[in-house]
């Protein structure tokens, strides 16, 4: 074997890809050729250095940005068959329309909806006496990191994944299909899902900051007091002076002022 041939197959030798016979010839040559021995040693050292190169540090927020991008396409995609089956009890209704018995108390103080506010919101809903449930979301979940609730027909699917859990009905109306709540630590945002697909969402602690979600619920027993509107039309953002729409846990100053 000459040195040129040796140089050519050093790479394959290092990776153990030479045939046995070729490997023996290569090793014999290396033993007797200092130049090729140095070449082999340098190449091996180089590859060790390459393997020692650690992974790059991720830029701050990149993980969040990735998940935000995923979420954005999730809300525009049709739920999978699997999810349909899992959510069969109320999936059909999620596709079409979700009625919301709500008015945005903080968000739309000047809107026409305010006129019906008092009429719509009974002060003591059946949910008001409900004991807080312990948070069950795992730490570091996307929702707890401030993921927004997607205003989408596949609401229950998404929010269950991102921060809502369905519970067996406790003191909620007998015709309610399930119960969901925010994964936020203050647990301030809850709602029920009715069999017909209507979703009632309310501000649990009555602090008004649930208005970040934008809704107050009045009448669970009748649960239809407002014209059902497609979920996709719901705006869960708060009105804010900054250019971006604000959602839960927005860091902007104007949202903080609103949240006071």
């Amino acid at each position: 074997m000459d040195c040129n041939k040796c140089f050519e197959i050093i790479s394959l030798y290092i990776d153990g890809l030479l045939a046995e016979e070729e490997q023996i010839i290569f090793e014999n040559h290396i033993e007797n050729c200092e130049k090729c021995r140095i070449e082999l040693h340098e190449t091996e050292t180089l590859l060790e250095n390459l393997k020692d190169m650690s992974l790059e540090e991720m830029p701050e927020h990149l993980h969040f940005d990735i998940m935000k991008g995923i979420e954005d396409i999730r809300v525009t995609r049709r739920p999978s068959r699997f999810l349909y089956s899992r959510l069969a009890a109320f999936a059909a209704s999620l596709i079409v329309v979700v009625g919301v018995l709500s008015v945005m108390r903080n968000i739309a103080p000047n809107s026409g909806a305010v006129q019906s506010h008092d009429a719509l919101f009974a002060p003591a809903s059946p949910m008001a006496s409900m004991p807080p449930l312990e948070a069950e979301m795992s730490e570091g979940s996307f929702a707890q990191a401030g993921g927004r609730i997607a205003p989408d027909a596949a609401f229950a699917e998404i929010d269950m994944e991102y921060g809502f859990e369905l519970y067996e009905a406790l003191e909620i109306p007998s015709d309610a299909q399930g119960y969901m709540r925010s994964a936020r630590q203050d647990d301030s945002f809850r709602g029920v899902v009715f069999e017909d697909g209507l979703v009632a969402i309310f501000d649990w602690d009555d602090s008004g900051d649930g208005s970040a979600a934008g809704f107050y619920i009045n009448d669970f027993e009748n649960h239809v007091t407002a014209a059902p509107i497609p979920w996709g039309l719901l705006d869960i953002s708060v009105e804010c002076d900054c250019e971006d729409e604000c959602y839960f846990d927005c860091d902007c100053e104007c949202y903080e002022e609103l949240d006071q």
């Binding site: 790479s11 190169m53 991008g69």
Partner: protein, 186 residues
Amino acid sequence: MEITSQEFLKALNGDIRAFENIVKTYERLVYSVALRLLRNPEDAKDATQEVFIKVYKSLDKCKNENMLKSWICVITNNTCIDIIRKHSKQSTISLDAQIETDEGAFIFEIPSDEKTPEQKLVEDEGYEMLKAAIDKLPLDYRSVLVLRDIHSLSYSEVAEATNLNMGTVKSRLARARAMLKKIYIG
């Protein structure tokens, strides 16, 4: 951390938390590969996001969890190549011609090649020098070397990721290593 079969199936069935585990497992790998191929942190960030959107959209095309790493590397490699192609198609401007704007004409200036003391300090470190040497390799060589020698993909995985046959991977890798050694060691 590797993705288990159960997690893979969950992600395949739309479980976003299971998918987030996939992201957590491979995001640094994807970003690292993208950074070496694109040589620009901003582009690498964009590429990383794009890769995981593609992964999410077409996870059902991945045969099983054992193929996940190389499959994600395929997408990463192709995404980076697309970005490089797009950049190369973008219009260029003459660096020494005057550019007319509303505020008058100016000459486009590029920074001096002279390194600042801080830059020299960083580049004196072997690791930075090695990264700089890798960046000098042509893309075709860089991609096989990054996947095989930095991120330890097998030859067949590299072949799949780069859409090359095994023979071409072997020869390109041998040349890439020789070229890198020449740049790095001399």
